[in-house]
Symmetry: C2
Subunit: 823 residues, 2 copies
Amino acid sequence: MDNAGYKTGSFDGLHQVSDDDEMVDIAGATLDFSTTDDDPPLNSGEGLPGETGGYEEYSSSRGMNGAGTPAAMVHPLDDPVPGLGTYEDFNTIDWVREKSKDRDRHREITSKSKESTVALLHRISDAFSGWLLMLLVGLMSGALAGGIDISAHWLTDLKEGVCLNGFWFNHEHCCWKSNETTFQERDKCPDWKSWAELIAGTTEGGSAYVVNYLMFIFWALLFSFLAVILVKAFAPYACGSGIPEIKTILSGFIIRGYLGKWTLIVKTITLVLAVSSGLSLGKEGPLVHVACCCANILCHLFTKYRKNEAKRREVLSAAAAVGVSVAFGAPIGGVLFSLEEVSYYFPLKTLWRSFFAALVAAFTLRYINPFGNSRLVLFYVEFHAPWHLLELGPFILLGIFGGLWGALFIKANIAWCRRRKTTRLGHYPIIEVLVVAGVTALISFPNSYTRMSGAELISELFNDCSVLDSSQLCSYKEVSNTTSGTSVGNGMADRPADSGLYTALWQLSLALLFKVIITVVTFGMKVPSGLFIPSMAVGAIAGRLLGVAMEQLAYFNHHWIIFRHWCSPGADCITPGLYAMVGAAACLGGVTRMTVSLVVIMFELTGGLEYIVPLMAAAMTSKWVADAFGREGIYEAHIRLNGYPFLEAKEEFEHKSLAVDVMRPRRADPALAVLTQEGMTVAEAESLVESTRYSGFPVVVSQESQRLVGFVLRRDLLISLDNARQRQEGVVSSSQVLFTEHAPAQAAEAPPPVRLRSILDLSPFTVTDHTAMNITVDIFRKLGLRQCLVTHNGRLLGIITKKDILKHMAQMANRDPDSILFN
Amino acid sequence: MDNAGYKTGSFDGLHQVSDDDEMVDIAGATLDFSTTDDDPPLNSGEGLPGETGGYEEYSSSRGMNGAGTPAAMVHPLDDPVPGLGTYEDFNTIDWVREKSKDRDRHREITSKSKESTVALLHRISDAFSGWLLMLLVGLMSGALAGGIDISAHWLTDLKEGVCLNGFWFNHEHCCWKSNETTFQERDKCPDWKSWAELIAGTTEGGSAYVVNYLMFIFWALLFSFLAVILVKAFAPYACGSGIPEIKTILSGFIIRGYLGKWTLIVKTITLVLAVSSGLSLGKEGPLVHVACCCANILCHLFTKYRKNEAKRREVLSAAAAVGVSVAFGAPIGGVLFSLEEVSYYFPLKTLWRSFFAALVAAFTLRYINPFGNSRLVLFYVEFHAPWHLLELGPFILLGIFGGLWGALFIKANIAWCRRRKTTRLGHYPIIEVLVVAGVTALISFPNSYTRMSGAELISELFNDCSVLDSSQLCSYKEVSNTTSGTSVGNGMADRPADSGLYTALWQLSLALLFKVIITVVTFGMKVPSGLFIPSMAVGAIAGRLLGVAMEQLAYFNHHWIIFRHWCSPGADCITPGLYAMVGAAACLGGVTRMTVSLVVIMFELTGGLEYIVPLMAAAMTSKWVADAFGREGIYEAHIRLNGYPFLEAKEEFEHKSLAVDVMRPRRADPALAVLTQEGMTVAEAESLVESTRYSGFPVVVSQESQRLVGFVLRRDLLISLDNARQRQEGVVSSSQVLFTEHAPAQAAEAPPPVRLRSILDLSPFTVTDHTAMNITVDIFRKLGLRQCLVTHNGRLLGIITKKDILKHMAQMANRDPDSILFN
């Protein structure tokens, strides 16, 4: 084996810039590249100071050119050009570059810290700034969530009446004030007046009902109008749940202003208004957006996070956990939600920090105590009876229902939203919101289960009936003498349903139908709107209905073989509240396709490992059933609807295509636009940039060899060329653009060259043309790439961007590849 | 811009194999490469059938060469050569290749499933085999854990006495049998005889004590002897906790037999023996190993998992979760433990599946009910009093203690283990175990807190004293009339300590000292040994001591300003059991550096979010303090001690080196051994392989150009060459080895060439020489690479393997780079 060619050629290429000694023979290019070498060629690796220990110096002497951090490099001009290394709006970040930048910053701080005490303190404060930021995010989000809870509670009650003691008291608070003996007939405290009482002077009869009805609709319209107007006027980004966009942002997309202070303020206010207006929406999803806004704003306090897009996304991942933590009072569930559903890059450090932030937020919220019961969780449930193995049957039924509902909901909602986007419907967002709010109010008032807020409804459905319960759902017949001889006084035994319960079941069925339909049109309107509560409400109603049915079935047929062993008369064998909870989990799972996080959130609500198996059975069934209709959850569906460049981590790329099938240029396209490392003039470079719309250009040794040297971003190139023309003396259009380390010999009268090696990324990612696309997609996902160059036997062939991959995936799935809008 | 060279050269290179039209001019190689092209050159991309839709066919026609799956490729010989694509022992797998293989398999099943019903059923069963496997792993691990619990309980009791009803009953079980009125004086049931009673005929006095003492030592020696003999004779891999090795295996290393059936059987038996012998070790860590063995063995039932190293590791990750789940009864904590501490590649699908398996295992264990109390968790705790904010002070103190203990323990244990490795101590494992077991038994018998098993001790320390509690730790003075006027009868109020408690505190202090020392020498001996329980015991003792001290301080000084508001006389303000729990968490955190999983496991033990904040404060402090002494946890320290090739995901690579500094060959080394895609004979290739020890070779276009074509593994190359020599007619030493797609024209009398394109990986990973090492390390970690080629301007410069990176990292950390043993 003779490796001579290798020895003389490539290894020396480290020091010599143009290692290509072919003579250029195409017309128009007249330079002889073999003369461009300043360094004396090192003819062999042997005998050089290349011992193991010597490499360290060697590498550091060349600065950080390879680290992909243009700003930190040795620059021909003294101070770095502003704007270098930043991103434009609606563009994808380069994770590798950002993380590398942060490591450089960290290394610098660490090495400086050995020099002085101030620098040491700086290092320590830098190390703890992440924790401090998490603390602040937790405190701020917890406080905001508490404020939102209290305000929404107050505004919701305002739809029914007002407190004479002070209009700022909600119903419960008003009655506390007026009545020292609390809870003694909540509805009859003198200070709280319903609108009928205030306006018509009566609390009974048809006219009072009409007045209350009209006032209910009036407030609903007013609140929803205010919400939509505020969103439209001040912060269009405040609408929706925000989770699809946050997923996209976390995956490395830039949407300026989406997490800004205006969005935060407007979203907080309009969320309260939207929830209070009685629309079929929840505040849980938007709370994630609110928490992310808090985190983004607080990031500005710390240079480490302000200046680094990757680091900031770590904080945002934690903020997503905080959002769910305050929404449900479930910190562990929140962390898992962030991990499973929202985050893209979730290192272990972030796991730990988001757990901390989620806990801080949960405890801040508890300190504010918006529910007035010192409970951390939104729906506190305590069931008394264990479940029986045979009940898994109905639980799985609920799972199937949840899966069907989820799949149908997604299809219907996306169809409706697409209609809104493409037809004239989208031009009248205010009217749309007012119509939906009006219809919602009109229909929901007569039915007490739709009139109450979603969260209240779910609480009531989850509730395990005790004897003292006055709720209509707990109106069972008193059974004076049971066959088992135990007194009914113990309270928990199954009993036959009373007529009140049958009425309630009818109302619930109607409520279910109404919720199913209205939620489809509500989600996606131009107001803040979450999906968790409406989905859970649908599932909880279905679950409760099934639960009561099972209970009555078991009561009247306790001699049936399936009931005989565990459902003897007088026993408390079936808990309809548990069915409601399982149903809620199933429906939420069907819509969002959450799995572990869903079960853990539900587990945190009840606090017992006991009920994990039912929840899990339902969640699994629901996911499988829903996946059979389409693998996307509602958030992914909305991401796709909006054409965001989101590379789904869950779905495997299953096709056989190779990198060469996806790369640009395609066979029919004009050739790839490349820069050469020398020999181009400023004018040529500028015209290349201006004649194309690519966001970056590969730099090659020469047009003939097509050997890849590096990659330069359009933005950096334009900024640097502009900068050179303005600040560097003598730079004209005919000046050479040099990406080489050493300037070639030039004629004396030639204008000074523009040296741009500093903005050149010397370590662009490459794959070969034969690389399977599933591997390429994996690389893009895992490393967070923005583009990747394709080579064949060492020659540059083309380029693959994230957008190309998404387009290819859309095409493979028989979707319109042009639906991918951004890069 | 003229891209003519690019167009004619590279793009056509897709079809033509040798796109290098340089004439070969080195001696010995006489072929003209420009004549090797079979295909007519396609001179331009324009006008070809290259529309968007046409690519699919185009790519599939070329088979799956790019997918890196040699076995699936079109092979010149009809059936694939056995052994291709497998790994040798103590080697690192290529994650990308394995995952790609699985995707191909899956794609094949999917496409076949459209053809027949049988194939469709196969696809469905394939999709569900993962879940079925998880179910089996859960069931088997749960059952084994139950068996281990029961046997260990029995053997531990056997050290004290025997049941006359049947020697296979443990103490409690024996007394149940003999005594219908359960728990009525547990120690005085007629059928249970202590050894003194049986042998000396007396239960009191010095001689009985001596007999019991001797029998205790005898059993300890016997059990530990059996354990070490079994391990030594049948399964040397069964020793230790197994977690360091499992971490390494999960990161992609092959250790054959480490998870085999012999290891499983021997580990299960010796674990029981080791735990029963009274050595200072736990069974929690080894249970992870046991669960992983179960999973590995069960994998053989399913082709999908048997044949794919990457898929199998997904199952093993889930099994690690199962292990912790059954060890503590904490399924969620188990999943997080696997995610945070053990796993390397943990996709969301695995998260969901491991959660399922962990639940199945936990419920299987509960069904077996080894603790006899229907509790899922190992230490069930229920505290009655909330904690006060000021108590965070002592909790943080416990955190500091835990961190110090963790750091010291790791240093001491590693020093001891290194001593064992390097000195003659390591030659006498049996004597070592016997000596340690003897000393442990000798010292631990007189002190009741060391005599009981670790788990019992922790249970007792966690316990919240009620008035009825007869434990020595709960011997408080009865206070007849308290100043607050409430009767002591309510039971929970703080009371002054009695002399019994002071004795207990003394004994606990001695136990602490003993445990701290003996655990250092015990962990790492040639018996199965876990660290969780001993660490937790140390922390629990320290915590309980501090807790009682705080309690007494508060009792006697309730007028102090810090106690005034929350510790009035008669109040139950300080719970020593909680301190024990916090201390246990702190010590475990200091040793293992677990964070979220630790807190979640502890949360699952108590079931209340209430105590998360104290646990978190302690765990955080402990981690920070311990990290100040060294960032490695005990498992990473043992991995390093053993020289396994493990690329730690937690630690960032912070140095400035570039790929060129790390790659081989170094400057002083001989040139990189490469194969050329054509022009080499079988003899040349064989001599190259035999003269080197590399596990793979890059294939280049020609020695001169050094343009990279692909990468071929040593093992694959050897197998294929052997195979060709044996099975392909006419292959002799002078036959050409061809990696090209099309055979070049050859003289008629030349022997037939050996065509090896099928074993060539056409998509090797490359980085440029300027790539920063932190990026390269990231690529290795995230993609699970085994090696990566280094290029400069399109020419091959060198290669970086995982081992090179580990050596470089060791060197940067001023450690011996030769400590990295395996590749």
